[in-house]
Symmetry: C2
Subunit: 640 residues, 2 copies
């Protein structure tokens, strides 16, 4: 079996320079299009007015057109008489002045001295020449340059062009992009996939992105892993395209023959760029057509698209890519980064106590939700080993600064109701959003202590008192003013496979030889509950198979059980129900929100508490099963 | 003749409040669309994943899938043997782990001990459970909320939705907008218009704008001034639209019956808003459909569109209109504003000597070029009488701050070559633009003195020395370091009607009784030349008819002559040629660029001088006729 394992580690700036230089040798031609369809297009040459606007002397008011000289000397005491259709003429705004007229008198200043003879009018003030007249060319003079070359046409430019007699004009063609998805495992997104099959989504993301950047797209059907088919598709694509994007197969694995085909048909400029995610990108030319081989992992692919394809497309249209706002924030934690690559980190950003705090989103280059949830990205240079907790980082925002200002940050334990809460908050229409990141209950308490969160979701059982949350807040935040608001009671229990084939009924069964467990991460309330129960029952965790395998959410635990990766996990009923597996109830736990006083008194918090108390939110959560929200919104404890 | 003259003067904030409250009673429904077509649309409900992603345990690397337990104890000194297709299985990245497997060993770490038997493999390190495995739900867990309500769908959201098994989803419908252009004088923009006819352009500007704001449009044919026809069109429009925009006829003049029809068919909420431009706007409802009557003047219409229609459309889609950047700049001159209205002023903005300077653009609500040329707008509140020269004003930018930084400001005399210069500068591709405003040669010198311009175009004849420009710079800028760069020699002369029917041949003819003159404004080099000639010849300006009528550009003078508004004017040959009128040459004058030293040494200026020296620029200017650029770019004088 032939296996090529090589990827260069070209720096991003060098790779981009090499690629753009080669690709921009290809020029975008221009085409003549109708002015009325030209919004968003870019002029390829200057546009000169064919006619003036107005193209005649026009009345600027409704009134009577006169020759100013005929009115000289008029005064209230010695009015001047004029005769309509003779030396005075009704004109409407925009209408043409009759020959010889050089002024308009407003209709309010016209008097009718003779009721019998409505053509007789009287003027009591002289008109000055050119008063209330829009003279020819006031707006645009024929032959004047209306728009220069390389001008992005906006709505009101269309008005100016038409007024200057321009009904068609030359604009750059839209770059034509061919999208070729590859991979035998891929299926079209029309039916839910069989196990082992992957829904093809990258080409649709690419298509939407490059259309935003001014291109038009042709998507090829999925090419199975067959070099001959890919070669045929590529040859067809380069014929009719300005740029070809190949999705997946850009790495150096068993089926990654894309690079050899590109070497055969053209020249590979770069294979492998020192960026993370996005390393296994291929930048190539077939004749005069640039070809980009994008990684199969969606986050890597999207980053490579922004870094290489976006600048090319804007450059072809002689435009500059839109700049995202840059903000400086403080990193909430230490982040390790490799010296091998420049790293593009997706982050959540929130403003707490007038301090912008950034928290990296979990997940590698396969986690599309890290793009969906990102508030922005930061770049860790190749020669930097990472970011210290509390270090200032420069963030390219994917949301507006106003949205960040209006974001309520909730670090702490994961609960499904938080997403529902955010949804209802958005619907409230005050512009607030809830951004929850899952760091476990203890992580949430520490975040409050450090001033990095507006509130924390907590469900921590105190083994001694049997109380939830309050003892922990007393112990870890003794000097802070805190309000504890109840959110929900949740049913906690063992999540087991459908039909419970191993007959698991209690905690003790977890140490059985035939049972594989899946655990939650350290610091999670559920983990603390488990360890408390194990200690109480004298069970050695070392006896539990899979005790060391940690998942970060209830849903991930249930998903693991559903897929047969584990036989049992500890979690909430709603998660089991969602994944259609069985649930052995053990206890009702209290999931509360710990809210520092500074935030409790804010408008944002009031909006949040209004939603929490609303019937529609409660129904939305209880519908999931295993939730009791009868007491939600109740202040159960205060300190300070 | 019935003439209603009334317009209320409702404040903008009140008018907007009244309108939005009524219009937003109408809700945008939702529709189910394909995910792959959903970019740019807005979710109307939360979207929950139907499947997990990955939906099976997948290999994260190309390699061999194993049960980790089978590899425990493996070491270089005691390798472990496995057998392919038995307890080890080739997997590609993304492929499904065979049942029982829980780890992947990278292909680099697989050894083949037995050449005869390629199914035998050797492992020299133990695998840890779940290494190189993307476990089920790593990205998305089934039932998880992928997107909340009211979420604007971005390209990578499409990828996440597909991965979660979402192939269709509910989004808000696009608001349907009917555009009704009205006015008997209007003609479609297909042929150049007859005198008295006006090209209909506003509806096309509106269509392009509201499409940017998320709507779809239906444009009605032009409705002549006939109340019955407008009524019929309105009834048809409200039936199928969420919003109707009527172009023109919103004022209170003779043919402005729009408001009475709206009163008959529905209710008029506001007629007349205290804004300038945009005052005569009508805000109405017919049943549940909002109707906006927009002014006929294009600038007024566009401002009203942004102020009333944009917030409605974004609100219907539960989005916030994009915020333009706000900058503070200093006003270069005193601006008077009425206490009757809130005034929206279009401005040029430039950064000179690290100071942002704003200069209002000339032209009233009929001058579309004041929108085209605007760098931004400022709002003068109703209770403010104006802006003092040097006062700080807050500007909503229509270009990016980077574009403003890269703008070369040229205040001074008008010359056609400056537009050509800007066009070539843009084509140079360094991102620089030339922004020229026409304040006359003396105005340009004063602007240099005040530090408000990078350079000034000047053509001032010194009557005593017969020299151009240098004596003026010596006199008015004695202490400044200045470089005078020659741009062009221009042929100056009398612009007269085609065929010169009055037989005008020299300056003396201007005082003839049968000749009407059109002048340039005070301070213009051409005006100074004229006054110098008149004095030299002992001609009293009072004898020249039209001496007091001032135009601001050569082209405007030529246009006035072309339209018969004047018999003669003084200007350059290129202007006469452009307007196809006759030209009587009088002299060659020197049009130069006065450049302060601080700017002369900048990168921007070097780029500008490179363009000035380029053959393509010279040819472009000389093609207009009456220009000699053989010496262009030559430094003709330096001071300091």
């Amino acid at each position: 079996m032939e296996r090529k394992i090589y990827l260069s580690n070209t720096s991003l700036s060098r790779a981009r320079e090499i690629f753009l230089q080669a690709a921009l040798a290809r020029k975008m031609g221009d085409e003549e299009i109708a002015t009325v369809e030209a919004a968003g297009r870019v002029t390829s040459e200057p546009v000169f007015a064919r006619i003036s606007s107005p193209h005649y002397h026009a009345a600027a008011m409704d009134g009577v057109a006169v020759k100013a000289a005929d009115t000289f000397g008029a005064a209230p005491t010695s009015p001047r008489r004029l005769r309509l259709e003779d030396n005075a003429f009704y004109v409407d705004t925009g209408g043409m002045l009759p020959p010889g007229c050089d002024a308009v008198i407003m209709i309010e200043d016209i008097f009718y001295p003779d009721k019998e003879n409505p053509r007789e009018i009287e003027i009591r003030e002289p008109a000055t020449p050119w008063q209330h007249v829009r003279s020819i060319g006031e707006d645009i003079v024929a032959t004047e340059m209306i728009l220069p070359s390389y001008h992005l046409i906006r709505p009101f430019d269309i008005g100016a062009l038409i007024n200057g007699g321009i009904f068609t004009l030359k604009v750059f063609k839209k770059p034509r992009i061919a999208l070729i998805p590859t991979g035998s495992e891929l299926v079209e997104p029309v039916d839910l996939p069989e196990p082992g099959k992957i829904l093809e989504s990258n080409s649709y993301t690419f298509a939407a992105a490059v259309r935003d950047w001014g291109a038009e797209t042709t998507r090829f059907p999925i090419i199975k892993d067959d070099p001959a088919k890919l070669e045929a598709a590529l040859l067809k694509a380069v014929e009719k395209s300005d740029l070809v994007l190949i999705s997946a197969g850009s790495s150096a694995g068993r089926k990654d023959y894309t690079v050899s085909i590109l070497e055969k048909l053209g020249r590979v400029l770069v294979h492998g760029v020192a960026i993370k995610p996005g390393k296994p990108v291929i930048l190539a030319m077939i004749g005069s057509t640039p070809v980009v081989g994008l990684p199969g992992y969606p986050v890597a692919a999207y980053m490579a698209l922004e870094l290489f394809v976006m600048p090319l497309l804007y450059n072809w249209q002689k435009q500059t890519p839109p700049q995202r706002p840059i903000l400086e924030a403080f990193s909430s934690r230490r982040i390790i980064s490799s010296l091998k690559e420049e790293e593009f980190l997706r982050l959540k950003v929130g403003k707490v106590n007038n301090k912008l705090v950034a928290t990296p989103l979990p997940g590698g280059s396969g986690v599309t939700m890290s793009l969906v949830r990102a508030d922005g990205i930061t770049v860790i240079p190749q020669d930097k080993e990472g970011i210290e907790a509390g270090e200032a980082v420069s963030i390219e925002l994917w949301r507006t600064p106003a949205e960040i200002e209006n974001t309520i940050v909730c670090l702490g334990s994961h609960d499904l109701s938080l997403d529902i809460l955010n949804d209802h908050l958005q619907k409230q229409g005050l512009g607030y959003t809830l951004s929850s990141a899952h760091v476990g209950s203890m992580g949430g308490i520490i975040a409050i202590k450090r001033g990095e969160t507006h509130l924390a979701g907590v469900h921590l059982l105190d083994p001694e008192s049997g109380l939830y949350n309050i003892p922990y807040l007393r112990r870890y935040l003794p000097d802070m003013e805190i309000v504890l608001v109840h959110l929900a009671k949740r049913e906690l229990g063992l999540i087991v496979a459908k039909g419970n084939p191993l007959g698991i009924t209690r905690i003790e069964d977890l140490s059985r030889n035939d049972v594989v467990f899946v655990n939650r991460q350290k610091g999670a309330g559920t983990r603390i509950y488990l360890d408390f129960m194990l200690r109480g029952k004298g069970i050695d965790p070392a006896l539990i198979k899979g005790y060391e395998r940690e998942e970060y959410t209830h849903l991930a635990v249930a998903a693991s059980v559903a897929a047969g990766g584990a036989d049992a996990g500890l979690g909430i009923r709603a998660a089991a129900q969602a994944l259609n597996v069985d649930f052995i109830p053990l206890a009702w736990e209290s999931y509360d929100l710990a809210i520092p006083a500074f935030f409790y008194n804010s408008a944002q918090c009031k909006a949040l508490l209004t939603v929490i108390a609303s019937p529609s939110f409660r129904e939305g959560v209880e519908k999931m099963g295993g939730y009791d929200l009868r007491q939600s919104g109740k202040v159960i404890w205060r300190q300070g």
